[in-house]
Subunit: 419 residues, 2 copies
């Protein structure tokens, strides 16, 4: 494996506060191995950049610009919601990828995304083998949803968890101080379509004496039990905080709030569970309420990112390159937890065949028996992931985030039309 | 004025990230003048604590607990939404206040709130004079709405402004990186019922190249012009960020979104302008959208408070005590700006007669001619107010916020029923 070829890196799906830290890990590590890796090309807008041969030459970016990626939320090269399905249905697209990689002497494919991207990465690897093109495909995990299997956690999640825990704590203090004459129930809606990991983070404020009720996507919504518990908290504490996952649904599978539109993956676009829940409380119990929907604010909140998360995001990017240099293919670096207290982990590796298309939900024993809270076991899992602060620099009161030059690589192939 | 009497301090209305810093300023300064000021009693749940003789003995709190108030959002003694109206309509309540103050030898009344509280503070001062009870009433300004007159800015505002500017920047980076295949318009709703100061802070991200459209309460909503501008930004930049004030309304005065309920002051309880605007864009232009409603998260976000704001909140509390010791009555300490760059200010003083019931809106020359942005003049005003970070300490990944003991003072009077 002493070849010297270029590398391709792309960001996929919903961006996070730390996906650029993984990009920094990939690019900085590749730059340390110039004998093996030529240029790192990034896909403009994710895998679309490879399909349309719209490659970005990252060698045009200064060392300080790449270093600044560690502190910059969002996807610096552009991301996309574009799923390549099965090889049968999308063979033309897969073959085009290989064609582009060949044209630009790309031997390493680093794909930074969630479950859908792990699947694409795996398929690209399979096809490159069957086409006899020696491509090494490494998936760099990323998803605020924390739903990838094998790895103990996913970069992006720890920072969202920290944002949700901090925001829930702050807003609960607010409500607590106003509840004698004003708002008694505060409802905050957080992301997490199928898995309740993000909502679970709100449960960490219990340690600060806050009465909190969590609505998980894993637990069918039971309105009667929910209202009884909220009312009990209001009667006992004077107020109550509710953290509702956007994916919370009724027993029949219908979401508490659907906006009716669907994204490119065919997933329903959610949002608005918080006002639904808040109004339900108002009508049934008469309590004055306020509600918030954090939406993108939560996943973009680099200013309150978890230092642990930033570190792991970087290390997984770094490890992806090291694995490639060791000749690995169709694998994903993972976070393997060794202990909770003190928190210790190592960076391991999983075969993509075992990662693709597997979703990891909250284990039942992470959720309290009544379905509305998190257990001590869950808290032991979550606490290390939100540890530490790693704020960006600020200038004139605002964080200093980098915008890259993103210089295009000259095209070598005919245009390709996306169907 | 060499009397030695106790002081009463109360927090009023919506709490902020820094109102407790003002409390620290009042209490710590009073503790420096034990020859003149005996105990500082705080009202449990604001002025209600005075009416019901539910006083908190702040001398039971350690120096470190009071110092920790500088870093703790919300109202540490409880706040309330309870407005004493005219002396004619509420004479019984005003007289009760004086009675409680007399019973506890309270000669200083520090009231920490917005416009309504300034009015109450002024009336208490007037009544105490007419009843021959020598009370000095000092108003400590506080309102995220930034709508008090005379003072250049109001404690609480700078921190919300910083939160809104930072969050808008981060979410805009997020949308920018996804817009090729996903969300093209992001709408974030912020507070500000009548004045657009908070929404204006979103305009600071223009300096970072973000296309942003602001909907102010001061400018009647013009749907056609708005949609045209949003579409133009999407066509030019690929995406657009919209910051909508909860108080945004149509030309006929109807709010974009009313929830129908009203608070104790008779104000409509707002929320939900963001989904209204987002859906409007979807239907008219077809752009994929996401929306967020920051609600309490914005005013409670002590973790991203403005250092300037925290400092001024403290200094105004400190100055309130100093003014009282100098014999002033029916006044409010103010922030008087000396220069924008470098930012210089002094703490001044305004008579409450000129503060009560005056709302300060955004000047028209702070809003661009088209009504959807902020001018350079406005930016020069806003920038200093979000300067500096002053994060709390963190433990186990969460901010360390203090919860006081709030020990009650023994009652001396018969119970009082609130009508």
């Amino acid at each position: 494996m002493a070849k010297k070829t270029n590398a391709f890196y792309a960001q996929s799906g919903g961006v996070t506060a730390v996906i650029n830290a993984s990009a920094a890990g990939v690019i900085q590590t590749a730059r340390l191995h110039k004998d093996r890796i030529g240029k790192v090309f990034a896909g403009r807008n994710g895998i679309l950049g490879a399909l349309t041969e719209d490659l970005i030459d990252t060698t045009k970016e200064s060392a300080s610009a790449i270093e600044a990626l560690r502190y910059t939320p969002s996807g610096a090269f552009g991301s996309c919601r574009f799923k390549l399905k099965s090889l049968d249905a999308n063979r033309r697209e897969y073959e085009r990828l290989i064609e582009v990689f060949k044209a630009h002497n790309i031997g390493y494919f680093f794909y930074n995304g969630g479950g859908d991207s792990a699947d694409t990465c795996f398929k690209v690897s399979q096809l490159s083998e069957s086409l006899g093109y020696p491509l090494q495909a490494i998936h760099v995990p990323k998803t605020i949803d924390n739903d990838l299997p094998i790895t103990d956690c996913c970069p992006g999640f720890g920072s969202v968890a920290k944002y949700v825990a901090v925001s829930t704590l702050e807003a609960s203090f607010d409500v607590r101080s106003m509840c004698s004459t004003s708002t008694k129930v505060f409802v905050v809606e957080v992301m997490g379509r199928h898995a309740g990991w993000i909502a679970a983070a709100g449960g960490l404020v219990e340690d600060h004496g806050i009465p909190v009720v969590i609505l998980f996507p894993e637990i069918p919504f039971d309105q009667k039990k929910f209202l009884t518990l909220v009312d009990k908290h209001v009667k006992t504490h004077g107020y109550c905080t509710v953290v509702v996952s956007e994916g919370c649904h009724n027993a029949d599978g219908s979401f508490l709030a659907e906006q009716g539109s669907r994204d490119a993956f065919g997933h329903a676009q959610l949002g608005g569970a918080a006002p639904v829940v808040a109004n339900m409380i108002k009508h049934a119990l008469g309590h004055k309420f306020h509600w918030a929907v954090a939406d993108y604010l939560q996943r973009a909140a680099r200013h309150i990112a978890s230092k642990t998360d930033v570190k792991q995001a970087y290390e997984l990017g770094q490890k992806a390159v090291e694995l490639a240099l060791k000749g690995h293919n169709a694998v994903m670096p993972t976070v393997d937890r060794i202990s909770d207290t003190p928190y210790k982990y190592r960076i391991g590796m999983a075969p993509l065949a075992k990662v693709a298309n597997v979703e990891k939900f909250m284990p039942r024993d992470f959720i309290t028996k009544d379905g509305f809270g998190i257990t001590d076991k869950c808290k032991r899992y979550l606490r290390p992931l939100i540890q530490g602060e790693d704020p960006p620099k600020f200038k004139d009161g605002l964080p200093v985030y980098v915008t890259l030059k993103n210089v295009a690589v000259a095209k070598k192939l005919p245009a390709f039309s996306l169907k």
